[in-house]
Each structure stands twice: as C-alpha cells, then as structure tokens.
C-alpha cells in the first residue's frame, strides 16, 4: 500500500502553521484515497528539531536534512529532496502548503514524477475529488488528478492546523543528492518588521487606494495594526500605486487570508481583492462610498471618512480593551 508525503515548512525548528494545515489535508487524503502511512519531510537549519515536532502531529515517520543545500530556500534542492523521499517510500500523494515556497518547487516534483498537480485546494470532497477556486474565486471547481502519483498544494486557511496528538512517529536524517543548474542565493529582505505574518495573523487590517500615498498609508494603518496586534494588508490598487509592498497584497494574485477579524479601510472591494479575504470570520469595512461592493460582504460596514474613523476606532478599541 502506498503512502502520503507532506512537505513541512519550518523556521528555527518550529513547524509553520500553514504546514500544520497541510498535515490536516494530508490526513484527509490518506483516508479518502486509501493510503497507508503519513510521511513528513523537513529541510534546512534546525530541521531535526522541526522533524520531532512534526512527528508529534500524527505523522508516522519524518525525514529531515540539515545539509548545506538547504541553508536557504532554493527550488531545485527542495524538489530533489521531495522527489527522493517520495520515491524511496512509495509516496503516491505529495502535499505541501500553497505558500510561495510550495508554489515554487512542487511543480518541479510533479514534472519529475510525471504527476498531475491540483493547486491551492480548499477541500477534499466526499467522492475523493478536490475542490479548488478558479477565476479569482468566482468559480469552485471539483477536480480529479488522473495520474498515478498526485501532487496537491493546500490553501492553509481552508484547513484546521493539526495539533500534537497520540504517539509521535519516528524521525530519520537523510542525505539528498542534488543535481542541475547552480543557483546562487544572494539575500532575503523582510518587509513586515515585527508584525505577524499576513497568512498567520488573527487580525488583518488592509488599506486601499484611498490612503493616498506611502506615508499616509503607514501613518493611518500602522497605529490601527498596533492596537489589534494585526498584520497589515493592502489592495492591489494600493500596491500598484506603490503605497505598500507587493507581499502585503491580499487578493487573487497576492495572499489569501482568513483571519478572525479583517478590517478593510478605503478598499472598494474589487473581485480580485474579495477572492483573497472573503473567508475571514468577521469582516469590517470602512469606506466613504456607501455603494462600495465591499459592503456586500462586510459583517459590519461603516460609511465614513477613513481619516476620521480610523483614529476614532483606535481610541475606542483602546478604551474597550482597557
């Protein structure tokens, strides 16, 4: 009987929340498609520590490598490790979170294993097909991967993050043979500062084009984010206008978020933005145009000038929390 492999992203030995969601999806696929074991893979510095934590999430066995090829993220070594573990352990279903990491290297694994890939799934259906959004979320498609080996990337906001349970599985170090073009990692610059990751945050506050310019954007949105300990997002219009960095973009072409609370400030609510946030638990919209489409999906809409409403909101929230 074949097995399921889940690629587990980690930082400093901690399993990423997005990957705990991928583990949940992998468990569902294991049951639905009749696989035997759930196998994990962690790579990079502190992968051994992360492997221990991953094993406690209900994985039967977790392989890890701290070799130098994984010092920084590069697609070719990541694909090589995943392909190798899949082949050596008869894994016919391979799962990863649909982060910029999973999106980047999983298709290389698909090509190497002649597998089809279903990207960004939001559910495993009763009949074993997979549900995934298309056309910026205007359509949900139920798809079947017709190849023997199947690659699946998972929209992490659509699955509960797996928690430690039962007996932890075993872990084992592996040595990965990497070949192909030499790619040099030059550097990584973080843009979020001390704020939580957009896709991980409990609260997201997002600004739109109404924020006028880069300085105004931060002057208004920064304090609002502070009072909620929130991540900051932006509409595509705000990003295109240069008010916010691209990796803050929430929408079809940016990040998909589903926090407990999403506050849209000066965002009209274009389809492509809604595609990235409409699964949030509670949605608040502040916009001075009462006909803005964002109000159609907001739980609480406030028709107001954001430059008055946002500072007032900050004060009221401080009072309410005091």
């Amino acid at each position: 009987m074949s097995n399921v492999l889940v690629f587990v992203q980690q930082t400093d030995g901690e399993v990423a929340k997005v990957s705990r969601a991928a583990v949940t999806a992998a468990k569902q696929l294991k049951d639905k498609w009749g696989h035997d074991k759930l196998i994990g893979l962690c790579v990079g510095p502190s992968a051994a520590a992360a492997a221990d934590k991953a094993a406690s999430l209900g994985l039967d066995q977790v392989f890890y490598s701290e070799e130098t090829s994984f010092q920084n993220y590069l697609a070719i070594p990541h694909a090589a490790a995943t392909e190798q573990v899949a082949k050596q352990n008869d894994c016919k279903t391979i799962v990863a979170a649909a982060t910029t990491t999973g999106k980047d290297f999983m298709p290389r694994v698909a090509a190497a294993l002649e597998a089809g890939q279903a990207s960004d799934i939001i559910a495993v259906n009763d009949d074993g097909s997979l549900k995934r959004p298309m056309y910026a979320g205007d359509i949900f498609a139920d798809v079947e991967v017709t190849t023997d080996t199947k690659i699946v990337t998972v929209r992490s906001t659509a699955f509960e993050a797996a928690e430690p349970s039962g007996t932890a599985g075993s872990t084992a170090a592996i040595s990965v043979s990497v070949s192909g073009p030499e790619v040099k990692f030059d550097n990584y610059e973080t843009s979020g500062g001390d704020r939580p990751e957009l896709t991980d945050a409990e609260v997201v506050v997002s600004g739109g084009r109404a924020l006028k310019d880069e300085t105004t954007f931060m002057e208004v949105m920064g304090p609002l984010a502070d009072v909620f300990s929130a991540a900051i997002g932006a509409s595509r219009a705000a990003v295109d206008s240069g008010y916010a960095p691209n990796d803050w973009q929430v929408g079809q072409t940016g990040k998909i978020v589903a926090p407990n609370l999403y506050i849209a400030v000066g965002i009209s609510g274009a389809i492509q933005h809604l595609a990235g946030m409409k699964d949030s638990k509670t949605i608040v919209a502040i916009n001075k145009d009462p006909d803005a489409p964002i109000f159609e999906i907001a739980d609480f809409g406030l028709v107001a000038d954001l430059y008055e409403a946002v500072p007032a909101l900050i004060e009221e929230v401080k009072k309410a929390k005091a």
């Binding site: 959004p133 056309y135 190849t147 107001a304």
Partner: protein, 249 residues
C-alpha cells in the same frame, strides 16, 4: 539573444465569471478575451531588455484555438517581433502547456523565457516551474526585478514575508509578479504593423507531445455566498458590535 514569451488568452479580469447550465465549464458567450495580465508584464519585460540592447528578438507563443491569435497580435502590437501559434481546440492544462512550450523552446535558440506566474483563469501557478524542470533549467519565479549579467540572471523574487534575490545561470525561466513593470499600451500604428509581423502556425499534433490533461474538471459551481451584514452608524457602534457580537475585542 532571443527571448520567448508565452502568452495566454483569458477572460477579462473585470468580468464576472459564471458557471454554464450543466456545470461543466463557464459561460463564454459574452466574454471579452484579453492577454493574461501577468503575460503582458512578461512581454513588457522582454521588450525592455531588447530596447536596452540585451536581447535581439522577442518571440511570443500561444496555445489555443484560431481566435487566440488575437492576443498574440496584441503582444506583437506592443512590440514583439514575431509569433508562434500552437493550434488546438482541446483544453490545455499546465502540464500540457509545459510540454508544448518545451518543444517550442528546443526548436529555437532562446536565451531566456519570461512568462506570467499564473493565468487568472485557472490560477494554477505551475507552467513556468514545470517547464523549467522539463528542460532541466533553473527558474526564478514571482520576479519583481530582473537583471541580466554575463550568462546569468539576477532576479528579485516576491516571497512570503519579503523579497529574495537569487542569481541563476541562463538560459532560465523567469515568471513575473505584478511589480516587475507597468506594461505599455499597444500604440495604434503598432496594431497596424502587428498584422504584417510573421506568425508561424503549428498543429499541436505535429509536436509529438502527450496532450492528455492530468487534471480533469468534474464540475464547476458558484462559490457559496456570504450572508449579508449590516451598516453601523458610528465608530462606537462598530466597537460595540465587535465586542459583543463578534467577540473579537
């Protein structure tokens, strides 16, 4: 150096897409087709490299029915030198597209492929990576900056949490993110000129690739609608609702 730019036609991003009556596809009757916005960025980047003297020729390639020639003509109107249309009336998934593009790449002496990171219809985000793997080449996906060196490309990538820069040997495949550039509009004289630019037609069967899709769409449904909320009168009312009803404060 020649640059190959794949161009896909997709429904206009402003159109509201609806499922057809039997749930097997989308309603295409009134759809306006456009060049996939990420591919337009790819065409723009290739043209800039040519204008900077770093590339000699920009060739656009499309896969699809006769109609999709229009989107190639648009790319040529932007400034691409010539086009290739691989004709098929069948659905083409990322896997098939990557197989076709691999054959096209092998036929020409290309130094670089620039293409969109995803098409805004299927939203799969796979073809560039599949193509790179098939050709044994390096990839630099989600690019927000591209600089060509001597046999290398240095690419800044938009990744979760920030920006990452890598240097890859060429030929390679670069996939574009939104901030790479702002595509030009095709000028009117360009549109006239594009009609005379060379367009090679290839039947997909002549490429000898496996054209069986690996992903089968069983059915399509509209997404569930979110229950309508309500407007609140004031900031105070909003905070009260967040505290008492949503319990998020």
């Amino acid at each position: 150096m020649k640059i190959l730019v794949p161009v896909k036609r997709v429904p206009d991003y402003e159109a509201k897409i609806k499922v057809n009556a039997d749930g097997t596809g989308i309603q295409t009757a009134d759809i306006k087709w456009i060049v996939n916005p990420f591919d337009e960025i790819a065409v723009e980047e290739a043209l800039k490299l040519k204008e900077a003297g770093k590339a000699t020729e920009v060739i656009v390639v499309g896969i699809g029915p006769d109609d999709s020639v229009q989107q190639l003509r648009y790319a040529m109107a932007m400034g691409a030198d010539s086009g290739i249309i691989v004709k098929t009336d069948q659905g083409v998934d990322s896997d098939v597209a990557s197989r076709v593009l691999a054959e096209i790449f092998k036929k020409g002496d290309y130094g670089l492929i620039i293409m969109g990171k995803q098409s805004i219809d299927s939203d799969a985000n796979q073809t560039a990576q599949l193509l790179a793997a098939r050709l044994g080449l390096a990839q630099a996906c989600f690019a927000s900056k591209l600089e060509l060196g001597d046999g290398t490309a240095t690419v800044t990538r938009e990744v979760d949490g920030g920006l990452e820069t890598i240097t890859v040997p060429t030929p390679c495949i670069v996939s574009t993110d939104l901030r790479l550039n702002e595509p030009r509009y095709a000028p009117l004289p360009g549109i006239m000129k594009a009609k005379k630019k060379p367009l090679e037609e290839i039947a997909i069967a002549d490429l000898g690739v496996d054209t069986t899709p690996k992903i089968k769409v069983l059915r399509m449904t509209p997404p569930p609608t979110r229950a309508a909320g309500r407007k609140v009168e004031s900031v105070e009312a909003l905070v009260k609702a967040l505290k008492d009803e949503a319990k998020v404060i």
